[in-house]
Subunit: 192 residues, 2 copies
DNA sequence: CCTTTCATTGAATATATATTCATTATATAG
DNA sequence: CTATATAATGAATATATATTCAATGAAAGG
């Protein structure tokens, strides 16, 4: 293995260990010593790969916001079907890819957490899924596939459930994952 | 106002400020200086009321686990109606009582957070609402009022939604609160 | 092989933050 | 009113943790 490959692998190990620890304990409660221990390296060495704990965190946020889970593609699909597809896709990814589950939960935790650096807040500001979904919910209400009610509140309910489930599965991968359909029923209009 | 009343009032101010800050930033990221600033007192004085930051946090957890939101009363009621009552009651409390909303979100955050002291973990260990609800969900499935599916997964979905909504409303009281009925529809069996 | 580069270490340093304490201000109780 | 208790302060101290750095080891490339 070349030096460059070694370096990249080491970097990935640190990022993965950092992701798990930041998710479980939060930024401030995670010691660089914890991360170094998790990877199996000395603290000093960790600083050869990342300038600071803050920069490591930033890098994870950067990866998170560019990942598939943060993408809300424009769509012409029927709104409720769109939410079904999003829920199916996310829950499937969460169930089958531990890294994706952790990253999804991490980003949503980072969004809520105040006191992040300016850089991090800037990266995260683009993510406001709850607000972005409101027009789609209105469209679904217009064609009677989504129930009546405050669209913002409906978006909060739907995404709270998705994010909460993701956190649970990320922290306890052995727990059974709920079905997407159940969550979509938060939005679905009752027949008649 | 007597000295004793003064002291009690001051103590309550510290607890309330601490609750808000711990909820927003987490234990480690919250500085005693932040709490003192929020109350409008010097750091030194804060230590006349609480032995340490840790003890202040413990006291909040103690209050939280003894509060109404942690109570899962035994019941003979029809299971789905029970979940309807719980959702109604909690969401109403969360909507109308900021302290309750914050406390509910705080306790659920504390439960997930690793690295708490032994004392705190002991206090929190009694709370495992998700597991406690499983028998009730099975009963509801037996009488066809709750949909088929893994009861544990159903409990996760239901409580993830409730907790997520509580966190959202606690952090942004101006946001519209979802209806209890929408959340209960995660569990509700479809007609026929 | 051997050399040279770079990964790696852990102790030393810098920094941030919890906690203490000597002192001052305030207000209660008598 | 005054004496006294206690509320209050903020600078000093202790401690924990991030970051640096000089020294060592290993292995890639010649």
């Amino acid at each position: 293995m070349s030096r460059a490959e070694q370096k990249e692998k080491r970097r990935a190990q640190i990022l993965d260990a950092g992701l798990g620890l930041f998710l479980r304990k939060g930024f401030a409660a995670t010691k660089v010593q914890d991360i170094a221990d998790a990877v199996g390296m000395s603290v000093g060495l960790l600083f050869n790969y990342f300038e600071s704990k803050e920069k490591l965190y930033e890098e994870l946020v950067r990866i998170g916001v560019s990942g598939p889970q943060s993408v809300m593609p424009a769509t012409d699909a029927e709104p409720l079907e769109y939410f079904e597809a999003v829920a199916e896709g996310l829950l499937h990814a969460i169930r089958s890819q531990p890294f994706t589950a952790k990253m999804f939960a991490f980003v949503n935790q980072a969004v809520r957490n105040e006191g992040a650096s300016e850089t991090v807040r800037g990266l995260l500001s683009q993510i406001d899924t709850i607000t972005q979904c409101i027009p789609l919910i209105k469209a679904g209400q217009a064609n009677k596939t989504i129930r009546a009610g405050n669209p913002y509140a409906l978006s909060i309910a739907f995404w709270s459930a998705i994010v909460g489930i993701a956190e649970m599965i990320a922290l306890e991968p052995a727990a059974p994952c709920p079905e997407a359909e159940w969550v979509v029923d938060i939005l679905r209009a009752k027949p008649q």
